[in-house]
């Protein structure tokens, strides 16, 4: 069915992926995900570490608001180069439509516009809840409404009776609300329009979570959202004045689907993907697994590996790549089973952190990966690593080996590492590019004929589940 082959095996035995109109991206590859303005600053700082044509993932609906912030005007040409030299995945943070993260969702819905968020919160303070909800784009309304109690509490506002009995864990039910089920078109159109103004972009639509207990209506809805996005992308592709836009078939799967008593939802998902990509033209398959680490802690990793092997085989028959957003080292492990790309946010997280809670001094410095150990360290652990290694980390081309300032004798984190924001932008987040080096080594291993290079790398690491 696919008119274009989006995966081809090269003479060295590596898969070469085409993302939008950018061909020849050797797999497996790491895709850094920009979560917000700070991550973009860090990525620009570390842009020399990116491989030519290395795909970049952005939160589609906020991307315009992020890149056009005043602080980026002085690096406008750098952003222009980034956009023209790399294909972009437009990925929507699906956890915002599933878990209770009300402040993140409100920020996202208003595309980071503080003025609009401010008006929304003013209305909440005035206890005009209905008017506040109506400020939001239609699609977002039921999702914010479903977490109103948590939102009001996080803002220290009074919770009225109408929201008092609201229980957490029900956010995903908003997908059934008419405002989401029908109101997504404007949201998707906006994503497609912005993607069309990039040189090469691939749209990955937001979809509801498929859990072990959910019925087939969730799979139907998932296909509906994907189908609509595919049509938008095809229209852009067909438009000579637009940039090159393609779309991936996206499934958001809960880790519980890989448990033994899963109501055969794993089979349903595979079959749905198979039918859909045989009948319609997609440019790839994206699979987001929520709480992926629990697959290992519950001992279901073999079921997941079988699922991935089947899925990548199905996709390969249609010449499509399979990528795993928000998968980190677990995604890296699954490259041995045919996955073409793994990714995570530049702070190392697999989801957006819930906002509104306090943050301690150490946490302000975030975490960063240690090459070879396949594990993230916090500021305290980093101090120990640096002490053992003369104040330096492994050499990673294009990013610094040591923090902007480092004083091992200082008593406070600020004294040791300087300003936390500066540290994150100029060191912590740029060091995320270690995954690019790791992916390159996996490819080198495959070229040499090494079987399962990811497993071999990870089993020698300090990773809590994969070593």
């Amino acid at each position: 069915m696919q008119e274009i082959q989006f995966v081809e095996r090269n003479s060295q035995g590596l898969d070469e992926v085409r993302v939008s109109d950018v061909k020849g991206i050797e797999a497996p590859y790491y895709t850094p995900e920009v979560g917000g303005p700070e991550a973009l600053q860090a990525l620009l700082y570390a842009s020399d570490a990116l491989e030519p044509q290395n795909p970049i993932m952005v939160p589609g609906f906020r991307w315009q608001g992020i890149r056009s912030q005043p602080k980026f005007r002085e690096v406008r040409d750098q952003i222009r180069d980034l956009v023209s030299e790399h294909p972009f995945y437009y990925y929507e943070p699906v956890e915002l439509y599933r878990y209770t993260r009300p402040q993140n969702l409100v920020t996202y819905a208003f595309q980071g516009d503080r003025g609009r968020s401010g008006s929304f919160y003013d209305l909440l303070r005035d206890e005009d809840y209905q008017a506040a909800i109506q400020q939001l784009p239609t699609f977002f309304q039921p999702f914010v409404e479903a977490q109103m109690k948590a939102l009001l509490k996080s803002k220290d506002l009074k919770v009225p009776d109408q929201f008092e009995n609201q229980s957490s864990g029900k956010v995903h039910e908003a997908w059934r609300d008419k405002r989401a089920d029908s109101g997504f078109t404007g949201y998707f159109e906006r994503l497609a329009d912005d993607a069309g103004n990039a040189q090469n972009a691939t749209l990955i639509p937001p979809v509801p979570p498929v859990m072990k207990s959910t019925g087939k209506d969730v799979i139907s809805r998932t296909l509906g959202f994907n189908s609509y996005m595919r049509n938008l992308a095809a229209s852009k592709w067909n438009d000579p004045s637009s940039g090159n836009v393609t779309s991936y078939l996206h499934f958001y799967v809960d880790q519980g689907v890989f448990e033994p008593n899963n109501n055969d939802n794993d089979i349903r998902i595979k079959q749905a993907i198979k039918s859909e990509i045989q009948e319609a033209s997609y440019a790839g398959v994206a699979l987001t697994i929520s709480n992926i680490e629990k697959v290992w802690t519950k001992g279901n990793e073999r079921a997941l590996e079988r699922f991935i092997t089947d899925l990548t085989s199905i996709a390969r028959q249609e010449h499509l790549p399979v990528i795993m957003p928000r998968s980190g080292y677990f995604g890296m492990h699954l490259t041995d089973h045919g996955v073409h790309s793994f990714s995570n946010l530049m702070n190392g997280n697999l989801t957006y952190n819930r906002r509104g809670s306090g943050i301690d001094e150490r946490a302000k410095y975030g975490t960063l990966p240690i090459y070879g150990e396949a594990t993230d360290v916090n500021a305290e652990q980093l101090d120990q690593v640096l002490r053992r290694n003369s104040g330096q980390l492994h050499d990673i081309s294009g990013v610094p080996d040591s923090p902007p300032t480092y004083n091992p004798r200082a008593g406070s984190y600020n004294g040791k590492f300087g300003n936390a924001t500066e540290f994150r932008i100029r060191f912590g987040k740029p060091r995320r590019m270690a995954h690019i080096k790791e992916a390159k080594e996996l490819r080198d291993g495959l070229r040499r004929g090494t079987a399962q290079p990811a497993r071999r790398y990870l089993e020698r690491s300090q990773h809590s589940e994969l070593s």
Partner: protein
């Protein structure tokens, strides 16, 4: 008198993701079945999809010219919607029109983009020129040049376009060179 069909597309049927995706039966019901995919849905309010409908109509039926009324008929869109998108498609040189009698305009496709050849790009300061090959009537090849500008807010937006047949490339180049030579003198 207003054409009643003008308002036809203004009352759009509402889309539902569930209905869009429900064409696919439960895969476990019949693992061997080749169910049709989720294809096609009613008109919606998407400018992108609507313009593509008009574009496809002209490409598919416009080889010998197609009128606005005929486009309305095959797309089920209102006249003002068709007019709006035809105007934009003409600005972008995807479509051109000719008057065949005193009142009737006929619309023709300029060529379908050939993605297999990719795009070439020239960047000079703020100006970006995208060059794409297109195949037109009788398999004639065209160059489609799109002028774009970049801004942080909007990304790359199209300002205008030019199309000319590949067969006239030498002549076009020669004329441009003549201009350049005259300026140098």
């Amino acid at each position: 008198m207003a054409d009643p069909s003008d308002h036809q597309a203004d009352e759009e049927p509402e889309i539902s993701a569930l209905e869009l995706g429900s064409d696919l039966e439960d895969p476990l019901d019949d693992l061997s079945s080749d169910e049709p995919s989720v294809e096609g849905f009613g008109d919606d309010q998407s400018d992108t999809l609507t313009r593509d409908k008009v574009r496809r109509a002209v490409r598919k039926y416009g080889e010998d010219g197609i009128t606005v009324s005929e486009i309305m008929e095959v797309t089920d869109l209102a006249r003002n919607t068709v007019d709006k998108h035809l105007t934009r498609l003409m600005q972008l040189r995807e479509v051109y029109r000719q008057k065949r009698d005193k009142q009737t305009y006929f619309y023709y496709p300029n060529g379908k983009p050939l993605h297999s050849f990719g795009k070439e790009r020239i960047e000079d300061g703020e100006t970006i020129l995208d060059i794409q090959l297109a195949k037109g009537k009788n398999d004639e090849m065209f160059f489609h040049l799109t002028e774009k500008r970049f801004s942080l807010m909007e990304g790359e937006t199209t300002e205008g376009a030019v199309i000319f047949p590949m067969s006239s490339l030498d002549e076009v180049f020669q004329k441009l060179q003549q201009f350049a030579d005259e300026v140098d003198k």
